[in-house]
């Protein structure tokens, strides 16, 4: 007697192509999900450990959010791809189910016969995918994250088992639901296939038919095939949209996040800037601008030693050098800042009531306080609408999150250097500046000088790109016992540090793109494998090999174009709205991202058409045999 597993094995053996694609799809999804979740755990730990303690909160949250979103999305997309593959596979078995029902099989027995094949694929796919994902992770971690692997071994193993169980359950639920839906149908409906719900009159009435009739024949045939196989098309479109959405979030989101973090650093440094001051001040200043990957604790350097102050005579002589446009005098100190609780009276329909911002046991922190003159700044930090006056400050993003509830409603109190005085300032804006890991306060230099009873400054920034002028500045500085530091070098160092962090996250976009490509390719191949019989008929009627390839390409494009528009659009909106809300992106980068994604999708369509063309290099007789 032919048992249900024998039945499944025979079905697998004779149909080969489609179950094989489903199996490969499942292995890929499970393997990449397991690899990335484990890697996310590893990288999440190492990256956020670095970023949370040494990076600005904005950069830290951008990177960790990217890791978590990407991992979650890969899992979701993996499951959707599996859903599509099983749905397509089961749709191809629709007539078999009809036959089993027509032969008088009881529901349980028939269900067993139909479900045996997906069960085998689920078991093999999950085990092979799980082992593949785990072993890839072990190899990767041994090379790149050895410490994490040793210390988190048990966590990884539990996570692996959990993911395997989730993948198995999800795959099983997905495949069995489709089979259940089939078993609720009558044999006649099952024999009729996917086109049974097609309504020609409706097609004509809605004008779709007339529109299609006006298109070139090859496009007409492709679109009619897609529109008239409604349920299959619907699932394929959902699946493809999600795949493309993931790719957009991963690739474009990654690029935007990387670009944004770089551009904040760019803005905070400016270009062709030279810092002048005492060597000790310059060293500390450089350290504060580049300590992205440094494990050193926050500085307690005393910037207001007498020998650090700059002579006014020097500034006068400096201003006589013609090639210097702007002289940015600054006073920088490490100071103690405190949150100020604010009570606001709010009047609404229910009357007036008080709203308190901030905590009663006030929070405080050490921060870098920079006194500036907003009329002579050399960097691009001061973007439109940013403004400070004698009573206001602008604070860094990390400081804003660490000691305030609602900084723009609250105030900040600054202690004087001898701690005898404390003055309160309002906060007009929050700046995404990586200096001192975002623990920074910008305020007018006069106010800072007054608070600390200082009349001078300890740092001068000038902007020039003329080498002779640079030499002149160096020579003048030496006369006053000062040194110079080209911030371009420091700038490059900071950018390299940021690039290094993003490079460590590179497996995420790469693997999500691989998952997406395989997912999209699988979806297209599965869609077309069901059309093999039709292609055989076309070849018998005299269609050349490239004619069927054109149909496949047209259908791929017809599937991919609307899904690409939807996926890329939603993906981009998602990136800007949730993942990187403060994105700084040039129109050029945006165009590059969108064109890159579109090009990638076009390549996928061409690859699928090429594969189908190769598969179709058989005689029409072979193509028309469903289970050859």
């Amino acid at each position: 007697m032919l048992g249900m597993f024998d039945f499944a094995k025979k079905a697998f053996k004779h149909r080969k192509f489609q179950p094989m694609i489903t199996l490969i799809g499942l292995i890929t999804c499970v393997a990449s999900t397991i690899f990335l979740v484990l890697l996310g755990q590893g990288l999440g730990l190492s990256v956020t450990q670095i970023t949370e303690t040494q990076f600005t909160s904005f950069l830290s949250s951008t990177i960790s959010q990217f890791i978590y979103f990407d991992t979650a999305l890969i899992f979701i997309v993996g499951m959707v791809v599996i859903y599509f593959l099983f749905t397509s596979m089961m749709a191809d078995r629709q007539k078999d189910v009809g036959l089993i029902k027509a032969l008088g099989s009881k529901e349980n027995t028939g269900y067993g016969y139909v479900m045996a094949e997906p069960l085998l694929i689920t078991i093999y796919g999950c085990i092979l995918g799980g082992l593949f994902g785990l072993s890839t992770f072990i190899v990767y971690s041994t090379i790149f994250l050895p410490n994490t692997l040793l210390s988190q071994g048990l966590t990884y193993f539990c996570l692996f088992l959990g993911l395997l169980a989730i993948s198995f359950c999800a795959s099983w639920v997905i495949s069995s639901r489709k089979a259940e839906a089939f078993f609720k149908n009558t044999p006649v409906n099952l024999f009729a296939g996917d086109t049974q719900n097609f309504d020609f009159v409706k097609e004509q009435l809605t004008g779709v038919g007339k529109f299609l009739d006006r298109l070139p024949w090859i496009l007409q045939i492709s679109l009619k095939g897609i529109i008239r196989s409604r349920s299959k098309t619907k699932t394929a479109i959902i699946c493809l949209s999600l795949c493309i959405f993931l790719m957009t979030v991963s690739l474009a989101g990654g690029a935007v996040a990387w670009w944004t973090t770089r551009s904040y650093v760019d803005d905070s440094f400016g270009q062709n800037v030279i810092a002048i001051g005492d060597q000790a001040v310059l060293d500390e200043y450089k350290n504060m601008m580049t300590n992205v990957l440094n494990t050193k604790s926050l500085s307690s350097f005393n910037f207001i030693e007498n020998e650090f102050f700059i002579d006014r005579d020097f500034i006068e002589k400096l201003s006589n050098i013609q090639q210097i446009g702007t002289i940015d005098n600054r006073l920088i100190i490490i100071g103690h800042v405190v949150e100020v609780q604010t009570i606001e009276i709010v009047t609404d329909a229910t009357g007036s009531h008080y709203v308190t911002y901030g905590q009663s046991n006030v929070r405080s922190s050490d921060a870098l306080i920079i006194g500036i003159n907003t009329n002579s700044m050399v960097d691009n930090l001061w973007m439109q609408n940013m403004h400070i006056d004698a009573n206001t400050t602008i604070i860094g993003s990390t400081l804003s999150e660490s000691i305030f509830d609602n900084p723009l409603k609250q105030k900040i109190a600054l202690d004087s250097n001898d701690s005898n005085r404390r003055e309160t300032f309002s906060i007009s804006d929050i700046v995404l500046d990586p200096i001192n890991q975002g623990l920074v306060v910008y305020m007018p230099i006069d106010s800072l000088q007054k608070l600390n009873s200082i009349t001078t400054h300890n740092l001068v920034l000038v902007k020039t790109q003329d080498p002779d002028t640079v030499l002149e500045i160096e020579s003048l500085a030496k006369q006053y016992g000062l040194n110079t530091l080209s911030l371009d070098k420091v700038h490059q160092e900071s950018l390299s540090n940021i690039d290094r962090i993003w490079l460590s996250i590179l497996p995420f976009p790469i693997l999500s793109v691989v998952t997406t490509i395989i997912g999209v390719l699988n979806c297209l191949l599965v869609s077309f494998s069901g059309r093999q019989h039709d292609f055989g008929i076309l070849r018998a009627m005299g269609a050349k090999g490239n004619y069927t390839a054109k149909i496949v390409l047209m259908e791929s494009l017809a599937f991919v174009l609307p899904t690409a528009i939807t996926g890329i659009l939603i993906g981009m909106l998602f990136n800007f709205a949730f993942l990187i809300p403060n994105a700084t992106i040039s129109a050029q980068l945006l165009i590059i991202c969108i064109s890159g994604l579109s090009l990638l999708l076009l390549c996928i369509c061409i690859i699928s058409a090429t594969i189908i063309l190769k598969l179709n290099k058989q005689t029409p007789t072979n193509l028309m045999q469903d289970t050859q």
Binding site: A192, G193, D194, T195, Q196, F198, F200, Q204, W217, I221, K224, G225, R228, S229, H533, D534, G536, I537, L538, R539, A540, M541, G542, A543, K544, G545, N546, Y547, K617, T619, P620, T621, N622, M624
Partner: protein, 235 residues
Amino acid sequence: MSNCAQNNAVETSSLTKEFNFQNTKITALNDATFKIATGEFVVVLGHSGSGKSTLLNLVGGLDKPSSGTIKVCGTDLSTLNDDSLSAFRSLNIGFIFQTYNLISTLTSLENIQFPMKLSNVVNDQLIKERARELLNLVGLANRCDHLPFQMSCGEQQRVAIARALANDPPLILADEPTGNLDWPTGKEVIMFLKQISKTQKKTMIVVTHDERIVELADATMRLEKGRIVNIARHV
């Protein structure tokens, strides 16, 4: 490319087709040599597995022989590459399959239009008119907008016949065209094919195992275990 009027419609020499199945060589057609004159209505008879469909697939260029040659309307099919063979099929051979093989997502009218589109007929209006004319010819003028599953087996078979006639090919190959039909309907289909053969001077090769069709044939060819055992021409 071909000239059926001046040549035999089909001419084969030592035609053999072998398949490998589980390391065993199976000879589906063995050393078949025969000629079919232009305009003949030939019935190929034989039991299941005797090689009838294999013969038809080889003559139609749907499959490649293991050895031997096939000439259709004077053209040696082995000299044609894949694309040339497709182009040759499109213009010279019409197929009628036992399982109809209509494209499930296309209406009957669109199924008939397809071969004409493949043979690069450019005038869409002409194509549509010809397709309607053919549907009318097979008695399905009112079924233009029906998908295959919305039609009965006999109707689908008639659409398949209309499709085979679309490019006005000189040779029509029919594989068990009555296999899925009851005898009255099947006889109607065969009579229709015979009538087309006579009126339009088309060569028709009909594969069947139904002996009742023999009386309508100009010639019969019998196959047994892959060999031609008898070719008889009826006067």
